[in-house]
């Protein structure tokens, strides 16, 4: 098997290498990182028959353009509704394609979504940090951000027979109108009417949105005045309220600990759709019990397994 070589001719901000994440390092101040939308990342890997934790490229609305310099390889794109253009020909946003030397692949923002994933049928060559190539945004550690002028190598390339194929869009890929949250772990720092506000009013995503988190715009959520809490561990998906009463949903590159109270935490599988909301789009938060949250995750997992198995067979 020969290698495929690509030149990065354009890369927007927040375009990074990611694998399934750097688990187990949070006690050392290192968040899991990994894909913002873990479901779409799983879809590109399954569609190519890759291991579920293979390295891929996460693409923001900044977009990415690659020129294939050498070789031939099948690739997959999924996540959000981006434009995928190969040699000037537009393909579906969720697609499996084969590219060869001389081809230009451009991935640009489309009608919806914030993050899309590009994976190759082969081994994308990226140096790991602490056992993972996932990029930790604030420091750039891990595989890092992509930049124009860079060269990418895909080793052990495979090529799928047949023309471009569409990857079916699962129900959970779309941004939701409403996401389930479990109250806490510091909801006790908020008055009952403040919690009622969070659960009643829509909140819009602001432009302050990156891999660490997204600030929300909506009614203020003032914590109780006499609050003085020691820094506490943080979970991905927690809705942290800073001293100015503004909530922020903490995402893949969140800090591992912090001193602001978390009024509620988004159910983990619901973050995949949530991160595909764009700035200025609104969402409602619905409270569920911890046991209901476990039920939501388990039924999504069962559906997701069936979906991913179907994709694997499509690629086989």
């Amino acid at each position: 098997m020969s290698d495929a070589l690509f030149a990065v001719t354009a890369a927007g901000p927040h375009v990074t290498f990611q694998d399934a994440g750097r688990a187990g390092m949070m006690r050392f101040g290192v968040p899991t990182s990994g894909p913002m939308d873990r479901a779409s990342f799983a879809a590109v890997q399954a569609a190519l028959g890759n291991p579920p934790d293979a390295a891929a490229i996460e693409i923001s609305p900044g977009g990415l353009t690659l020129n294939c310099l050498e070789g031939e390889v099948t690739l997959a794109v999924a996540g959000g509704g981006f434009q995928v253009v190969l040699d000037g020909v537009r393909h579906g946003a969720w697609t499996v394609l084969t590219v060869r030397a001389g081809a230009e692949l451009a991935i640009r923002p489309g009608f919806w979504g914030c993050w899309t994933y590009l994976a190759f049928a082969g081994a994308l060559q990226v140096a790991p940090w602490l056992g993972s190539v996932s990029t930790h945004g604030p420091t750039g550690l891990g595989g890092g951000r992509l930049a124009a002028g860079q060269t990418l190598t895909v080793a052990e390339t495979r090529r799928h027979a047949g023309p471009a194929a569409r990857i079916p869009l699962p129900a959970w890929a779309r941004p939701p109108n409403e996401v389930p949250v479990v109250l806490g772990p510091q909801d006790r720092f908020f008055a009952p009417e403040t919690i009622a506000t969070l659960l009643r009013e829509p909140y819009a995503l602001s432009e302050a949105y990156d891999r660490m988190g997204v600030r929300l715009r909506g009614p203020a959520l003032p914590p109780n005045a006499a609050m003085d809490m020691p820094s506490e561990p943080i979970a991905r998906g927690s809705i942290q309220v800073s001293g100015d009463a503004v909530p922020t949903v903490l995402l893949a590159d969140h800090q591992s600990t912090g001193g602001y109270p978390k009024i509620a935490t988004v159910v983990s599988t619901s973050l995949d759709g949530f991160v595909q909301l764009r700035s200025r789009q609104s969402v409602a938060f619905r409270a569920v019990s911890a046991q209901e949250a476990v039920g939501i995750v388990r039924s999504r997992d069962a559906a997701s397994r069936r979906y991913l198995e179907g994709l694997r067979q499509m690629g086989a």
Binding site: R27, F28, P233
Partner: protein
């Protein structure tokens, strides 16, 4: 509000935050370390990872394998079990140069404390430091134990682009930075000691939570030589 500890707070579908108190101190942190040392996939069904902090510890589990009720029961059992000892912390040496150029806030700390700069340095070196938690950025180990006379509230506004290796203090806390970052803490020295790639085995960094730290003073020439390594 009289809170009963330990408290078990569910976090979404995948974690429980176990709280042992609401005030920072050695005794509460010992409770955190004791539970931390007892956690494993065999003692807690579905256990993924734990994040210890000052007064509490986040226990993450796989919701496909376990749930909050099962995990809470396992945690209560571990906490109640006699003889669970905290993992023995190791003492780690951190070398510091207090040269004025590398310690831009030393004179202001001295003025605020009503001491000579040399007395501030002596106080800092005499502190009894323990790693309470990591936070803010990879490798940022929060060391509590700054002696009373040199405890200062943080600055009113952060300073940008503070060099990696800076030795910072604020209140009872001290930390050695691992990246160029903004900080509102007081910069009293610079260390050549590698924290970020100073680990071994399954510990990637110099410290684990529960370790103790001893600062030793080095001169500028030694700092330059060690920092260049």
């Amino acid at each position: 509000m009289a809170a009963a500890y330990p408290a078990f707070r569910p976090v979404a579908d995948h974690a429980i935050l176990v709280e042992f108190g609401d005030t920072i101190g050695h005794a509460v942190h010992d409770e955190v370390l004791r539970l931390d040392a007892a956690l494993s996939p065999s003692s807690v069904p579905g256990f993924l990872e734990a994040v210890p902090a000052y007064v509490n510890i986040l226990v993450r589990f796989d919701p496909l394998v376990s749930d909050h009720a099962v995990v809470e029961a396992a945690l209560r059992h571990l906490i109640a079990a006699p003889g669970n000892a905290p993992r023995a912390g190791r003492e780690r040496e951190v070398r510091v140069c207090y040269d004025a150029e590398l310690a831009p806030d030393l004179t202001r700390v001295a003025e605020a404390a009503g001491m000579e700069p040399e007395a501030v340095i002596a106080a800092h070196l005499a502190g009894d430091y323990r790693v309470y938690m990591y936070g803010f950025a990879p490798g940022y180990a929060y060391l509590a134990g700054v002696p009373e006379p040199i405890r200062l509230p943080r600055k009113t506004a952060p300073v940008r682009d503070v060099a990696a290796g800076s030795v910072l203090i604020a209140g009872p806390q001290c930390l050695v930075t691992t990246f160029v970052m903004p900080t509102g803490w007081w910069i009293i020295g610079r260390s050549p000691t590698r924290i970020l790639d100073g680990g071994e085995g399954d510990r990637p960094f110099l410290f684990d939570v529960g370790d103790t730290a001893r600062f030793t003073r080095i001169d500028r020439a030694t700092f330059e030589a060690e920092a260049a390594r």
